[in-house]
């Protein structure tokens, strides 16, 4: 589903974010991307949905060569990937409903269809009663779950989560992880970036360890 061949990313002033990464994530897999802050986890995720281009190497996502993707094909790639951002990227002045509906509008989904879908997703993440609140009034954990629900709006084949348990306590973190596992069980390929080693070992899934931009080891 996701393949990288000798991928490097070097920012201006010779800042090496990733160097010579080769990896393969199978369709339907659940993979952790672990490592300390600044190891390049976020950069690696951003390469997958082409928010960044690699300095060298090739990336295949769902059979598409992301590096050589034309601008006109970018929307299709992004629609097949749901992203849970580290900073959530929620619109704080819109309701939870409107935040989710933004995706439906981009996809051109009729309002009647998206209303049902938003209802179902909010129920799954346990926020149905907060649909008309602005994220501003929600707790960090609740905002996190809104971000998850929004990432699932497009029924993506791939779900990327960047530190989805970042500032949650262990119980809430496990709740969020269970949610992601459920999504995975229904067929979505899931990649979770986290610096929380304890979480990785508790979940017992495959994990790729990044250190200073290099892929160090794989734990199965």
């Amino acid at each position: 589903m996701i393949q990288m061949f000798h991928v490097s990313k070097i920012y201006p002033k010779e800042v090496v974010a990733l160097s010579d990464i080769t990896l393969h994530v199978q369709k339907g897999e659940f993979v952790f991307l672990s490592g300390p802050s600044g190891a390049g986890k976020t950069t690696l995720l951003r390469l997958i949905f082409r928010d960044e281009l690699p300095t060298s190497g090739q990336i295949l996502v769902n059979g598409r060569n992301v590096v050589r993707l034309r601008e006109s094909k970018l929307p299709a790639l992004r629609r097949s990937i749901g992203v849970i951002f580290q900073d959530f990227k929620l619109l704080m002045d819109r309701t939870v409903y409107d935040n989710l509906n933004l995706v439906a509008r981009v996809l051109g989904v009729p309002e009647a269809v998206s209303r049902r879908k938003i209802g179902r997703l909010l129920k799954e993440v346990g926020l149905l009663r907060k649909a008309d609140e602005t994220p501003y009034k929600l707790s960090g954990g609740e905002q996190q779950r809104v971000a998850i629900a929004r990432a699932l709006m497009s029924d993506p084949a791939i779900l990327l989560a960047d530190e989805p348990t970042g500032n949650l306590d262990q119980d809430l973190a496990l709740d969020v992880m269970r949610l992601l596992v459920e999504v995975n069980i229904r067929g979505t390929t899931v990649v979770v970036a986290t610096h929380n080693r304890r979480l990785v070992s508790e979940m017992g899934q495959r994990a790729l360890i990044l250190k200073q931009g290099r892929l160090m080891e794989e734990i199965h």
Partner: protein, 300 residues
């Protein structure tokens, strides 16, 4: 799908418009001012041009005759005038005809003439001039030779005026184009800036839309429509104000206008082509301005 898209387009456009607030007002205002000034020049140039063209067309030299002139002298004079190379056509206007003409011109204010016991107007020959003699020097020579003829008391010709007005119209045309261009470019920047502010205000939303798979045009088109709307609206507003100003001016001129425009058409507002052109150019300015702003943002 199509209706969803269309609805999105309109929703977004009007959303931008409403959120723009004073920025949008300033933007439309700038375009209105630009088009009001340019439109005023256009209107003046066109009207003055028409008047001058008409004057030039039936341009005449008038030879006023002495009151004591005899019919035989008139016949003789006519022969001599018809013999002049520069003269294309000779019309005799008797004193009575001159008075009747004058009455017609000041229709509504005939009371001005009530106190007159005798006719103060002289008889005259009105001369139409050959095209090739319609130059200041040729007319000057003609005037000199006419004055020497017996029975001619005074000669009146307005070539100088026609020349002056023609060059005035030329200058106004150029001035109008220059001012129009400058103001047009200025309003282009103002619209670009307004749209840029609108884009920045919604930067996060646009970023998210792009990240969840919105195409470039999906994001751009509502913003460009927004600019187009601002431009078109500004120009239309200017046109409305120009019309009111035009009407008010005519009304002000009311009494004296018939003398100035005697016989000719009394002031014309811009034709439909010009009106549509102005709104079109306004909309285009808005579109280009917002395109510049949006492109720059999305490239970054």
């Amino acid at each position: 799908m199509f209706w969803e898209r269309l609805r999105h387009l309109l929703d977004e456009t009007f959303l931008n418009f409403r959120r723009g607030g004073w920025g949008v007002v300033a933007s439309i205002g700038a375009i209105t001012v630009a088009f009001l000034v340019t439109g005023t020049f256009l209107l003046l140039t066109l009207n003055l041009g028409t008047v001058v063209a008409q004057w030039a067309e039936d341009f005449q030299v008038i030879a006023f005759l002495a009151d004591a002139i005899t019919p035989e002298q008139v016949t003789l004079l006519r022969k001599r005038l018809e013999g002049e190379l520069a003269v294309r056509e000779v019309t005799y206007v008797s004193r009575e005809e001159a008075l009747a003409d004058f009455r017609r011109q000041i229709r509504g204010q005939e009371s001005l003439l009530e106190g007159l016991k005798t006719n103060p107007l002289p008889a005259s020959f009105q001369l139409r001039i050959q095209k090739e003699y319609q130059t200041p020097t040729a007319l000057g020579q003609l005037a000199v030779s006419l004055r020497r003829m017996e029975g001619v008391e005074d000669v009146l010709y307005g070539q100088e005026w026609v020349d002056r007005l023609t060059s005035l119209v030329q200058v106004m045309k150029i001035l109008g184009i220059v001012i129009g261009a400058v103001l047009g470019i200025a309003s282009l920047f103002i619209v670009a800036n307004t749209i840029r502010l609108a884009v920045y205000a919604r930067a996060q939303e646009i970023e998210i839309m792009r990240l969840v798979g919105a195409s470039r045009s999906y994001v751009q088109i509502p913003l460009i429509l927004d600019g187009t709307l601002q431009g078109g609206l500004g120009a239309a507003l200017a046109l409305g104000m120009l019309y009111v100003l035009f009407r008010a001016t005519l009304w002000q001129l009311g009494a004296s206008a018939p003398l100035i425009f005697s016989g000719g058409e009394l002031g014309r507002f811009l034709d439909v082509e010009y009106r549509m052109g102005m709104v079109g150019v306004g909309a285009l300015l808005g579109a280009v301005g917002s395109l510049v702003a949006v492109r720059r943002f999305l490239r970054a």
